[in-house]
Symmetry: C2
């Protein structure tokens, strides 16, 4: 089931600026037993992303109403919430009277191989680099061609994710996830103030690390340095947390921090 | 009138990757007396942009058929041709069986103040910078948030365009146009191999300069240098060519090359 401005449907206007220019933002979250996981965090992030693009974010009550209607039909699913600038005439200028489009769309929960969780995943090192654009960095906006190009670099179904650097060679994230690396007793995650997305799970891991006395920091490191890490894991709101156990020719044994954070994330989610 | 995969309509699928990720390209051209202006060039550019994103470009005959149907109803209009990767399930990975979406949409010809053509325009110097991304540079793709942010910097209706630099401070283009600057006897246009769009009119101006013995080159220059130019003009496929006669506090008298190129462009268009 999909709701477009609260009305069930499967299509949007050709004049929607989301379609014409990628002028909007989105969130992907899990509905489990009818409950939108981490909803306050997802709404806060949606609101903040809208604010940065000067899009009027729909009230949380409207979205919660939409989510309840989805829940009735699909208590367990992945939900994508998209908010675009809305439909408008041709041209980049934002018309003063434009009204945002909100779409709440359900998709089946993906099924991942059990070993991703139990043993970790293989990752590809992407040649595609992320451009440095502080004005858009951190936002989960609809301009996602870089992610698509990076994801298109491999077809091997054994590879679950790609690691992406920025054009300066700094590691930033996965194509669809945030990344953490353990160096000795420190937990590091790339800076996403110049490119990349500041995901909800990334923020949770940083907070959980702080709450549990694990030194965690936002850091700048390149691919060579990443390969020296003692443990590497990725997070997002759909799969949760996976350890990277193979990246290029580097392999890692099962680590201890990934299952530890999984436990904390699950307990708190 | 709008045609979606050859069928009249006003909506597209929620699952279209153009809407979900900006995964597509577009062209904006003028239909005059039922004739799509510069059609072979526009199709060649569309085809090349699709190739770079590995989207299967629709055959020209299909698009020409769509254009003829538009023409019958609106012989004079602006046409936007959009080709997206097509509709697909969730995720950045490109499904092997995805079929492109082609949309041919008509809008009224815009009416610009007569003095833009006769005397030139005022332009704003944009603070928004274009990120350096060679993998996408030159392509008229659907990821246009940078253009939107740049265009949102001014509301003054007296200002017709904004001049945009990249994050290194090099002048690249207007928000919706390509830019040329005259330095002495040389005509220069910014390099668009790292960001920006390689427009059809830009290519025509370069060719017309060559054919008419005007030294023209692709060059790298910053805003300070642009202000030292003897004449500056912008081009696109809808308005043609306008001189910039005011930019920040700098003003220029009416130049000679802008009307000269207009004559050549009109004769050839």
């Amino acid at each position: 089931m999909n709701l477009i401005n609260g009305i069930a449907g499967d299509t949007i206007s050709l004049h929607d600026r989301g379609w014409n220019y990628g002028d909007g933002v989105f969130r992907t979250l899990v509905l489990r037993d009818g409950r939108p996981c981490l909803w306050p965090r997802h709404y806060a992030k949606l609101h903040d992303d809208c604010r940065r693009l000067r899009i009027a974010c729909p009230e949380s009550s409207l979205l919660e109403q939409d989510l309840r209607r989805l829940t009735a039909q699909q208590p367990d699913c992945v939900v994508r919430i998209t908010v675009t600038r809305g439909a408008a005439e041709r041209g980049y200028a934002i018309p003063p009277d434009v009204a945002p489009t909100r779409v709440v769309a359900a998709a089946p929960l993906p099924v991942f191989p059990a070993e991703y969780r139990s043993h970790g995943i293989r990752a590809h090192f992407c040649h595609t680099r992320l451009a440095i654009q502080p004005a858009l960095a951190g936002i989960k906006h609809l301009n996602r061609l870089e992610n698509i190009l990076a994801r298109a670099e491999w077809n091997d179904p054994e590879i679950a994710e790609g690691v992406v650097c920025d054009t300066d060679g700094n590691v930033i994230s996965g194509t669809m996830s945030n990344l953490f690396a353990v160096f000795g007793s420190d937990l590091a995650t790339p800076d996403v103030s110049r490119c990349g997305v500041a995901g909800v799970q990334r923020q949770r891991v940083l907070e959980l690390a702080g709450a549990n006395g694990i030194p965690a920091r936002v850091a700048t490191f390149d691919y060579e340095r990443l390969l020296e890490a003692d443990e590497v894991f990725i997070v997002n709101s759909v799969f949760g947390i996976w350890q990277i156990t193979a990246l290029g020719s580097r392999t890692w044994r099962s680590g201890t921090l990934t299952p530890q954070f999984r436990q904390w994330l699950d307990a708190d989610g």
